[in-house]
Each structure stands twice: as structure tokens, then as C-alpha cells.
């Protein structure tokens, strides 16, 4: 294997690889914020979020990310998480939503938001299924959960929009944020 071309300092070197595309800040009245018309010129997407649900349950609830507004029952996810005393793994198939993380609710410790970083590599590729990998965490000072979720979106379609929804399709608490970044490669 010959050495790869190394990115030389030049005009493009002045620009970082992580390019902000869009940001959403919840005001407490929105159920499912969406990023649409996602540019197709990056190598990967990275979604950084800080989320709290208005659900009234005391347990953590699921956060879902829908590519291309697709809510058909075709998603599969493998999860790994730890709750402070043990670790567990689970799988969900034929799901309408991309189960990406667990987040706190209005009944959780005050002012606590779950944090998530979601990676979608090769999102604009039209010959491969999409793998959506999320590292997430939520600590409630005495309880909590942290984990990794890997979702298969079984379509070769390029991802052009992302929509976020929490369990029960309830409002996101004010202060919830989603920031979408494009990760550019050499020449992009």
C-alpha cells in the first residue's frame, strides 16, 4: 500500500473540518424539530444535542432521529448501556423510529439535559445503507444511564433531512438544542 496523499497546508487548510450547518433551540412548544435540505457536499454528518423531554414519567425516555422523515417500520438498533451498577444490551427491529439515546424528563433531576453526539458517515452515499452511531449520556446525581446506540437505516437513499422526536411525541423542554455539523474531508 503506497502512502496516502497527506493534506498539505493551503487554502483549504484554513477551514476546519467541522462545519456548522444548522442549529435548533427549543422554546418549549416544539415536538419534532427538523433539519431539512441538508447539503450533500460533506463526508459525514455529526449531530450534537442536549435534550430534555416534557414527558411526565419519572424514567428516562427515548430520543429518536428520523432520516428523511421516514417513519416506516424498517429500522433496527443495537444498544449498549450502563446504569451505574450493571451493563446491558438490547436490540429492536421493525421499529418506525431510529432509537438513538435516552434523555431525562420533567420529572428528572432539575436542569439536567441528556447529551448526545450522533455520527452519520457517508450520509450522501447512494449505494450503501446508513449506519447511525450515537454516544449518549445522562447523569441524574444518583441515577443515570450512558450508552451507545447503533441504528441501521436500510436504504441507500442519501440523507437530506433529520427529525428529532421523543417518546410520546411530547414537547422538548426549552433549552433543548440540536446542532448539525458537516464533517468535510479533503477537497470538500
Amino acid at each position: 500500500m503506497s502512502p496516502l496523499p497527506v493534506f498539505a497546508a493551503g487554502s483549504n487548510a484554513a477551514h476546519g473540518a467541522i462545519v456548522p450547518i444548522a442549529k435548533y433551540v427549543a422554546d418549549g412548544t416544539t415536538v419534532s424539530p427538523s433539519f431539512s435540505n441538508i447539503p450533500q457536499g460533506y463526508q459525514d454528518l455529526m449531530l450534537v444535542s442536549s435534550v430534555r423531554s416534557s414527558a411526565t414519567t419519572s424514567s428516562l425516555v427515548s430520543l429518536y432521529i428520523l432520516p428523511n422523515g421516514d417513519s416506516s417500520n424498517n429500522k433496527s438498533v443495537t444498544t449498549l448501556n450502563g446504569n451505574g451498577s450493571s451493563a446491558a444490551s438490547a436490540r429492536y427491529t421493525t421499529s418506525p423510529f431510529e432509537y438513538s439515546a435516552n434523555v431525562p424528563t420533567q420529572q428528572s433531576a432539575p436542569f439536567v439535559f441528556g447529551t448526545q453526539i450522533t455520527h452519520i458517515l457517508n450520509y450522501a452515499n447512494t449505494t450503501t445503507y446508513k449506519t447511525i452511531l450515537t454516544r449518549w449520556a445522562c447523569d441524574l446525581n444518583g441515577a443515570g444511564l450512558t450508552g451507545i446506540n447503533c441504528v441501521l437505516y436500510p436504504y441507500t437513499t442519501a440523507i437530506t433531512s433529520l427529525t428529532a422526536i421523543v417518546d410520546g411525541v411530547v414537547n422538548l423542554v426549552a433549552g433543548t438544542t440540536f446542532t448539525l455539523y458537516g464533517v468535510r474531508s479533503i477537497g470538500q
Binding site: A17, T78, L80, N81, R91, T128, Y129, T131, I148, C150
Partner: protein
């Protein structure tokens, strides 16, 4: 903190690549991040794993720890030092696994150019195959204080055509260290 693309490679050969080497890595960044979209040509089903080496070192100087979830249970493991231990949490689909499904790896190598530290990498890796799959939180140790100037990614057999590797350098601010 800013991230910059250093190198990129896509497997174009129909038979794939047994290894992918990113060489001549500049020492001017603070950290490195590898972002990999991969699949292996190993026949059969059930997923397989890749490995990593630094600076062409094929000695038994690598170790690893990981936590893995397979959809039913979570397990943790480690390995004795060997030449294949680095990155052994880097799971990939095999040739017979779900068509068009690919693995995602995001790997961080902190302080890669520091010559006073052995090198620790950490990463997350995942594959879901709609009925099977694995996710990993892993780390590996390279027992060398040498600055990392090349990274080899090894497949179980070959990386499949379409495998994509992107290497980024992460810089810090001289003023704030952020």
C-alpha cells in the same frame, strides 16, 4: 479546538485492501481522529474485526479493553499484549452479512505526538444488521513513547470495496489551550 482533514482513503479495488496505511502524519496537531466506514470481505456471516498498528510496529506491544453489546447482553474484555490487540473492537460486517450494511468507527488518539507518553486510543464502533449486530466502546494501548507518524488499519481478510477512512488532526489554541 479545531479539526482539520489530514488524509483520506477509499478502497477502490474490487478485491479490497488487506491493510490501509496512513503515513507521513504531521506532528503539528494535538490529537488525531479517525472516522471509518468499513466492511470486510471475509466469507460467511457473523461479523469480524479489524486491528490497528502504529509506525509499522508489528511487535506484541499493543493491548486493549472493551465493553461490547450484542443486542442481548453486555460483556467486557481485555487481551494480553499482542501485535493484533490494538483496535480489536473495530467490528465489521462479513461478506455474507446483510448487503449494503456497513460499520462505523470513530477513534480518538490523544497526544499522539507526545514523546513522553505511551499512546492510548479510544473509540466507538458499531454495526447493526437488522437482527444481529454489535456495538463497542473500546480502548487500546500502544506501549511506545514514539510520536505516531503512521497508522495501519488491518482487515480480517480485506476491507471491501467502498471502505472509507478519513484522518483528522485536532488542534488547540495556543492562547487558551482549548
Amino acid at each position: 479546538m479545531s479539526m482539520y482533514p489530514i488524509a483520506s482513503y477509499t478502497t477502490t479495488a474490487s478485491g479490497g485492501d488487506a491493510t490501509i496505511t496512513l503515513s507521513s502524519i504531521p506532528a503539528t496537531f494535538t490529537h488525531l481522529q479517525l472516522r471509518v466506514f468499513a466492511r470486510d470481505t471475509t466469507s460467511g456471516t457473523g461479523m469480524t474485526g479489524g486491528y490497528m498498528r502504529f509506525n509499522g510496529d508489528s511487535g506484541g506491544n499493543y493491548a486493549r479493553h472493551y465493553v461490547e453489546g450484542d443486542g442481548a447482553s453486555a460483556t467486557s474484555g481485555a487481551s494480553s499484549p499482542s501485535q493484533f490487540s490494538a483496535g480489536q473492537f473495530l467490528v465489521m460486517p462479513k461478506a455474507g452479512d446483510t448487503a449494503n450494511a456497513w460499520a462505523t468507527w470513530v477513534i480518538d488518539i490523544l497526544d499522539y505526538a507526545n514523546t513522553n507518553k505511551n499512546k492510548t486510543m479510544k473509540g466507538i464502533a458499531g454495526v447493526d444488521l437488522n437482527g444481529s449486530g454489535q456495538v463497542y466502546l473500546g480502548s487500546s494501548l500502544w506501549m511506545s513513547t514514539a510520536a505516531i507518524n503512521s497508522i495501519l488499519l488491518g482487515a480480517s481478510t480485506n476491507f471491501a470495496q467502498g471502505t472509507r477512512v478519513d484522518l483528522y488532526g485536532i488542534s488547540t489554541s495556543n492562547a487558551t489551550g482549548a
